[in-house]
């Protein structure tokens, strides 16, 4: 029962802070609300038994990516920026499109049968543990894993190159 409450709580936090991220006028607040959302999502991962992912999620998203966002916003001094003007027309359209998409997605889910989270026959509590995941990553997914590091390297090079001052 407890986990149920936690689920509802975390979901509420995630949705609410996501909305806050969108509607906040100050970009810094947006970033902060998004961090909250990420924490909530990390909580969900815990609930689902994916401890490793939860940890990585917090480290990567909250720790690295969002800091990067904050950093950029500070550097560009975006918090002083005036909020762009939007016509009612755009607002309505975007609300309509996003809403319909959400509704359609929910409707799709609704139409599927109930899927139990835990199938007792195959249940394995160790699934999301670091040890287990590490074995999988370094055995079955060794090549993609290494490729991912190459991707990172190239992203790094790219980022450094792009942010050079004299590149105009």
């Amino acid at each position: 029962m407890l986990s149920e409450y936690i689920f509802w709580f975390l979901s509420f936090v995630a949705v609410f802070s996501a909305a806050g991220m969108i509607f906040s006028k100050n970009p810094v607040y947006s970033v902060l609300s998004l961090i909250v959302t990420f924490f909530a999502v990390a909580g969900h991962y815990f609930l689902l038994g994916a401890q490793f992912l939860a940890a990585v999620h917090i480290i990567v998203y909250a720790g690295a990516i969002m800091v990067l966002f904050l950093y950029v916003i500070m550097m560009l001094n975006l918090n002083e920026l005036e909020e762009e003007k939007k016509s009612l027309y755009t607002k309505a359209l975007s609300f309509f499109a996003g809403g319909v998409l959400m509704l359609v997605l929910i409707a799709v889910v609704r139409r599927t049968e109930e899927l139990q989270l835990i199938q007792p026959a195959v249940y394995n509590a160790d699934l999301g543990l670091t040890q287990h995941l590490g074995k999988v990553l370094y055995k079955e997914f060794l090549v993609p894993f290494e490729l991912a590091s190459v991707l990172f390297l190239s992203a790094m090079v790219g980022a450094v190159y792009l942010s050079k001052k004299d590149l105009a």
């Binding site: 755009t90 975007s94 499109a97 996003g98 998409l101 359609v104 997605l105 799709v108």
Partner: protein
Amino acid sequence: MEKLVTLVPLFPLAGFLYIIFFGKGFSKGFIGTLASSTILLSFIVSVLVFTTQMHGAHPAVVKVFDWITAGSFKVDFSFLVDPLSSIYLLFITGVGFLIHVYSTGYMHDDEGFSRFMAYLNLFVFFMLILVLGDSYVTMFVGWEGVGVCSFMLIGFWYKDMKNNDAAKKAFIVNRIGDLGLIIGMCLLFAYTGTLKFDDLFISGSDISGIPGGVATAIGISLFIGAMGKSAQIPLHTWLPDAMAGPTPVSALIHAATMVTAGIYMVARSSELYAFNEVASQVIVWAGILTSILGATIALTQNDIKKVLAYSTVSQLGLMFVALGMGAYSTAVFHVITHAFFKALLFLGSGSVIHGMGGEQDIRRMGGLKKHMPVTHLTFLIGTIAIAGVFPFAGFFSKDQIVAVAFEENKIVFILSLIVSACTAFYMFRLYFLTFHGKFRGTHEQEHHLHESPKSMTIPLVILAALSVVGGFIGLPHAVGEEMGMHWHWLDHFLQDAVVMPSMHMTMGTELLLMVIATVVALSSIAYAWSIYKKRGVLADEDKDMKSSAQKLLYNKYWIDEIYDTIIRKPVDRISDFFGKFMEPKLIDGLVEGTGSLTKATGGIFRMLQSGSLSLYIFVFIIGLIAILLSL
């Protein structure tokens, strides 16, 4: 023995190649001797081949090499030795040799001497291939080859564009005929599966299966080829123009040998024509019309070579009359005698032109008798021979044609008598205007006048002798019996090679016809004599021509101009239309239009590419929703 025949065309070919590639450093005398001696060697071998055939050797096919293979179509490059080809070999190499010798004198001062001799050698080579080929395809090799040599030799003096135009005209008109020949070959192959003479004719079975209509089409198509080569209506216009070439060329190619290729081909295909009434009638009428046309035009021409050219056209027409009437050996007979006397006449005229320093207009000649005795005498013999006076060569062959016409078709008979009369008249007109009367040229020309060198006169003498006795190879029954000689020798000789007509003419009729022919010829000669010798009438200058008939004839019935209007100009105009409108506007317009249409459509759709990110995402999400909903 037959294997030797391969050598016959090989000698001239070797001569040609040698002169073209290595002939630079040698003297004219050496080149001339070389070129002539290759033909002489060919002639000697031809004589050997001919004697074996005369002694009744079987026709033989001598294979040289594999040539064309395509499925069921297989043609070797091989030679057919039979009476027809061996007699052709004989007179081609014989007359060819004489003309080569003559050319060494005639062309001696020309800068292109060695080139000329080389071309002549090449021509003889192709002519020999033409008559030796054992299939239509091999024959076609020679057929086209002589066409090219004719092209090169007509345009020999290439600096003058008029010569080049004449050469081009000859080649193109010949090509029209060749197309007919190709179509004929194609049809023949489609219905018999072979183009070899011995499959088609000697074994004899293959052509009987051709349906009648197709046989007619084949016959006419092949005859179109012959029309081109042998200058028959309506493809005759190139031959008079071809006189632009040096005179030995006119003698060898445009009188004695090449132009008779059409007769050779029809005679070779005699089995095809023998039972083909329609095609044969076409040949007869084309032949007699050409003959009349040529003879009448020749009446008014003033260029010594043009007269002879139209005379050739006319004589060729007569040969076709004989072919069309089924007297194939008679046509061959006339080919041979005609080769003798027409070559003689051309060479004689060449001698005259040589002496006159290049002048060809008979209105500027006259009285050459005393300056050029040998030329005069031999020319006279040639004139008598062509006019058909007993017992010169032309008499017998022409008389046979007239006799056949008498048997087959009385209208043609009468027309052929008219042709004979005209022939005798214009030839003697030419003779009298050239050799009798007063000299009408300039003083320099008169001063320059001289008899030609030995190398030119000796061939004249030999040909004159042949023109006298050449007719005896085909003595008619009546005469032969009377004189105790072998009559119709040629017919007997050729009976294995060509279809023989079934003629049943009494000796009386035969004699009567001979008398008629002689009377016609003699009275015509007498008329010419009375006008041009006795009264001394001269040919009109261009501006003096009054009667419309005279103008019509002098301008050759305006056929060239008519062709120009109905063929050349429309072709040019259509091509122009293609080039100016159809290609750039219509066809390329469509192609470019496709491009422009694509571009225009793209122009419309690119409006959507506004650059606004929000819009893109909006459309994207709408699309996503649509996809989800449709699932």
